[in-house]
Symmetry: C2
Subunit: 350 residues, 2 copies
């Protein structure tokens, strides 16, 4: 922090914004901050596979703390992956370098769906809960802990198509063509996700984010009918327990319908200026975003101009968490991120 005095800890600032209360400065974190652009993270990855790190609490906590120490962000997002709950579901998968998650036996039939196990995270993914407890202890009040999960639609994309795709044709064909099977699958995934996030809240997580990464592939009519009810169920179950953030990209066409699923906040990408996106979400809901991560490849003055534009459009209204519109790119210069956190804090200090 520069010459401004602050009265809140990072954790307080983050949780206040998530609850749409007054803050001493706008809180900030970066999606994918734990990894990729950090040399200390890449050094860890030379020694450990990605999933090994995610399944080993000590390693996950170490990676989680790196960006908190280096950038001074107000949120510490657990080093993890949206595929981890598959361990509890009894679905074998691997993360292939340069490709992404690949499912050994994709879910296509009623029998496949029946075989998916619905368990509590204490049984299915105990290492995630242990990592969150260790993280809380190591972090103190410096930053809020952030847990997360994949949303049912995005999990279904991976489970049904079986690997990353631009179109997810098998998943969407199931959604369009077999509403009975689709409901069974989405019901199970929503229940698993609820339990997973409830477990994270019990382990002390300050905020949870639901990643519906592939939601940009659908129209509002399909969304409202085939996806939103399951998302809304999750936010409803978590409402009294922990603040929630809905994440997606490329969903300008869905923003009012996403807001209707009633998370605490909606994370938006850079495809609309923040004030226009906030209008679509509704002024009664918090917003997270929305700097374009590719802007971080430009010279500092261009980055600073973009960040100030986001803050001007937020206009100091309560309920804004500064973030990128999507994950950090590996090419990002970490020093620019430290400057950016400082800019957000000093520009908004009150």
């Amino acid at each position: 922090m520069t010459a401004t005095s602050t009265t809140m800890t990072g954790r307080q600032r983050f949780l206040a914004a998530a609850n749409r209360q007054q803050v001493d400065a706008t809180p900030v974190w970066f999606m994918r901050q734990a990894g990729r652009c950090l040399p200390e993270y890449r050094a860890m990855r030379e020694k450990h596979a990605f999933l090994t790190m995610a399944r080993t609490p000590e390693l996950a906590v170490e990676a989680t703390l790196m960006p908190v120490d280096r950038f001074g962000v107000d949120g510490a997002v657990l080093f993890a992956d949206i595929m981890l709950p598959l361990d509890g579901m009894g679905i074998a998968y691997e993360i292939r370098p340069g490709i992404g998650p690949v499912i050994a036996h994709p879910i296509r039939t009623a029998e496949d769906i029946d075989r998916i196990r619905v368990v509590d995270p204490e049984e299915g993914t105990p290492y995630v809960l242990e990592a969150l407890r260790q993280l809380q202890a190591a972090l103190g009040d410096r930053a809020a802990t952030l847990g997360f999960a994949g949303a049912p639609f995005t999990l279904a994309c991976y489970l049904v198509d079986g690997r990353p795709s631009r179109e997810y044709p098998k998943t969407k064909a199931l959604m369009y063509g077999r509403p009975d099977l689709w409901d069974q699958l989405m019901t199970k995934l929503a229940e698993i996700t609820c339990r997973y996030l409830e477990g994270q809240a019990r382990a002390g997580t300050g905020v949870v984010q639901l990643f519906d990464s592939w939601l940009g592939l659908v129209d509002p009519v399909t969304y409202a009918e085939r996806i939103a009810p399951y998302t809304a169920r999750i936010f409803s179950r978590l409402r009294e327990i922990v603040p929630t953030i809905h994440f997606s990209t490329g969903t300008v066409q869905l923003l009012p319908e996403i807001a209707a699923t009633a998370p605490a906040m909606v994370s938006v990408d850079w495809r609309l200026p923040l004030d226009r996106a906030w209008d679509l979400i509704g002024s009664g809901m918090g917003i997270q975003g929305n700097l374009d991560p590719t802007l971080l490849m430009a010279p500092w003055e261009v980055i600073a101009g973009g960040a100030r534009d986001v803050l001007v459009r937020a206009g100091g209204r309560p309920g804004h968490i500064f973030n990128l519109g999507h994950g950090l790119l590996p090419e990002t210069d970490p020093d620019q991120l430290t400057r950016l956190v400082d800019l957000v804090h000093t520009t908004t200090a009150r």
Copy 2:
């Protein structure tokens, strides 16, 4: 065609719709109809490389005619690729299987931009013009010939990043960070694209489509300032010569700004219902679209329901060309496409 009588040829029907005139039935074609899902196309591809086919007029015409013969579509889009003009620019590239276009020496500096040659297609890509002339002769009035080109922004994405990407960070960093170089690059690409499409019109093409495939990556402010002026220049130059269609996907946030570049029609994907997209484009402009290509993986009754919904939302207003919201998927059953063309024609016959 089923029991309805038609009074127009496919070519007449297509051109009338492109000019927002009355039609005897809604014209239809499918993006990527020439290839992928057709066994006769895959047999050709076992004998010839993709670029060999595109650069050999006889082979390009043969592939172009396949879907016209098989599906009865009203538009015959030339078998070609948006990268072909690079031959005239003096930029070496290849199309790598499973990856896509890869540029030998990506364009990053003022010197790189200076070296791009601006030539007429008679010199740079004579085989495209020859293919269009042969196609016209073979096709007669059965269907309208459709030519196309990549839009300057999408070409810049390939040239600057050098290969397909989800984010095109190097291109966007140049656009954000070096507006001077960006203007030089986009000015050259717009001029090359104008000449390329003017040449296609001189060779007798009925309609041309401008593919801005990666436009979904930008917000409306950036679009209006850094991209739209070059697109508008192209449509302005072509206005008196040939009807134009603007294509993009994932651009709900840009539809009014895209319409302001003044093509004859705007092609929209399935992310908004057709009537809502048409409202954003403006009722004074034609529209192409907008069935979700993944819907074609569902049973026929679901496909038919989706197609009828598009037609109901079009409401028989002049200036609608039925198409998918994006390219055909390779898994599509060709017989469903024949049924779909028939459904569109018979449902809308007047």
